[in-house]
Amino acid sequence: MAEEVKLLKTWSSLFGLRIVWALKLKGIQFDSIDEDLANKSPLLLQYNPVYKKVPVLVHNGKSISESLVILEYIDETWRQNPLLCQDPYEKAMARFWAKFGDDKVLSSIWSVFIKQGKEQEEALEVAMENLKLLEENLKGKKFFGGEKIGFLDLALGWLANLICVLEELSDIKIIDKERFPLLLGWMQEFSQAPIINESWPPHDKLLTKFQIIRENQLKLAAAQPT
């Protein structure tokens, strides 16, 4: 039976990008369906009834949700170009840092983006602490996965693109050369890898989208009673 692989995502979805990268790295043919989250398709509601979110991978009619779960599914189903290494301890470390990236790094950087003034400074300190840990993780390595792009690179890959967008819009430097030379180096290497590079959403479109988000968030914050 011919394989049928579909990916439900949005044009800008960070978590969707992880799956695009993983499928391309494995050389898997897939159909991409860009959802409009303001108007969710019956397909999305059918395939992810619990969260109604993207990304969702549909493989021969069976759906899988939650991007890190999808990544492991892809790695276990298509064994070429492994994303996770075989050693259980190294696997545990990759999973730990991927979770750290989603639970701590992303939220702390987002806080920097949607705040201003003193609140932004405080958020920046927290973000820096988290990024320091990632910087240490890169010592002696080209990628988080070692010599090649792996699971953790894909999990943290959103940093390589979104940081530039967020820094441009909030006029603040988050990842600077003095404090984070390895992280900056990784961002460049990762972004320029062919499969990664060709998949980035259009930069201008991202700037517009996130500018609107930032303005709305700042308005909301200003409207809160002190």
């Binding site: 619990v50 493989h59 069976k62 899988i64 949700s65 939650e66 779960v69 999808i70 492991e72 599914y73 276990e76 189903t77 259980p88 301890y89 696997k91 545990a92 999973r95 730990f96 979770k99 750290f100 840990l133």
Partner: protein
């Protein structure tokens, strides 16, 4: 006595610590259980989990592994000759992982939300969310067990461990709220499953008694600061 090269840093009331212990029990791995004292964190814990400073931590050959579900994966992979914890099929693994993540991100927080909710409306919303989650798990159990006793089939597996570890706290919640959540009337399949799970040899020595846990919950409430007005 030979010191075990497997240690678990934890505490008996923690459902997350229970996950690690059940996994090791399934594999018949001897381990040293190092109990943390309520209200303080040991040097070893701070050294082994400097980022989150939380239990459980598994220390194997002096290398720490943190986060309970990551520990369960690790145990399954290291002691691969023992009974399997994760299913073998990638799709079944993905579904088990999906539900385990759901339990940690949505369902367990809603259980805690019930206790901390302020006001009638907030309480009702928290209860509704909790019950909705239980109904989802009842359906998931029917689908995944395919008529067998556990989510994992004939023996307990990853999702049994991920979910079953919360049973003692669920019973305490029922006791303190006076409400019934997991029983024959509301969740008939899960009610049966819960009995089988708690009786499993890998589980019964690490599952706290409801009474003991209820006493502990009262003690814990004293440690927690009052919610903001």
């Amino acid at each position: 006595m030979v010191k075990s090269d497997v240690k678990v840093l934890g505490a008996w009331p923690s459902p997350f610590v229970m996950r690690a212990r059940i996994a090791l029990n399934i594999k018949s791995v001897d381990y040293e259980f190092l109990e943390e004292t309520l209200g303080s964190k040991s040097e070893l814990l701070l050294k082994s989990n400097p980022i989150h400073k939380k239990i459980p931590v598994l220390i194997h050959q002096d290398k720490p592994v943190c986060e309970s579900l990551i520990i369960v994966h690790y145990v399954d992979e290291v002691w691969s000759s023992g009974p399997s914890i994760l299913p073998s099929d990638p799709y079944d693994r993905a579904i088990a992982r999906f539900w385990a993540a759901y339990l940690d991100e949505k369902w367990f927080p809603s259980m805690r939300g019930m206790a901390s909710a302020q006001g009638e409306e907030a309480k009702k919303a928290a209860v509704d969310q909790f019950v909705e989650g239980l109904n989802l798990m009842e359906d998931a159990y029917v689908k995944l067990s395919k008529g067998k006793p556990f989510f994992g089939g004939d023996k307990i597996g990853y999702l049994d461990i991920a979910f079953g570890c919360f049973l003692a706290w669920l019973r305490v919640t029922e006791k303190t709220s006076g409400m019934k959540f997991l029983d024959e009337a509301r969740t008939p399949h899960l009610a049966k499953w819960a009995v089988s799970f708690c009786a499993d040899p890998a589980v019964k020595d690490v599952m706290p008694e409801t009474e003991k846990l209820a006493e502990f919950a009262k003690l814990l409430a004293k440690f927690k600061p009052a919610p903001p007005k």
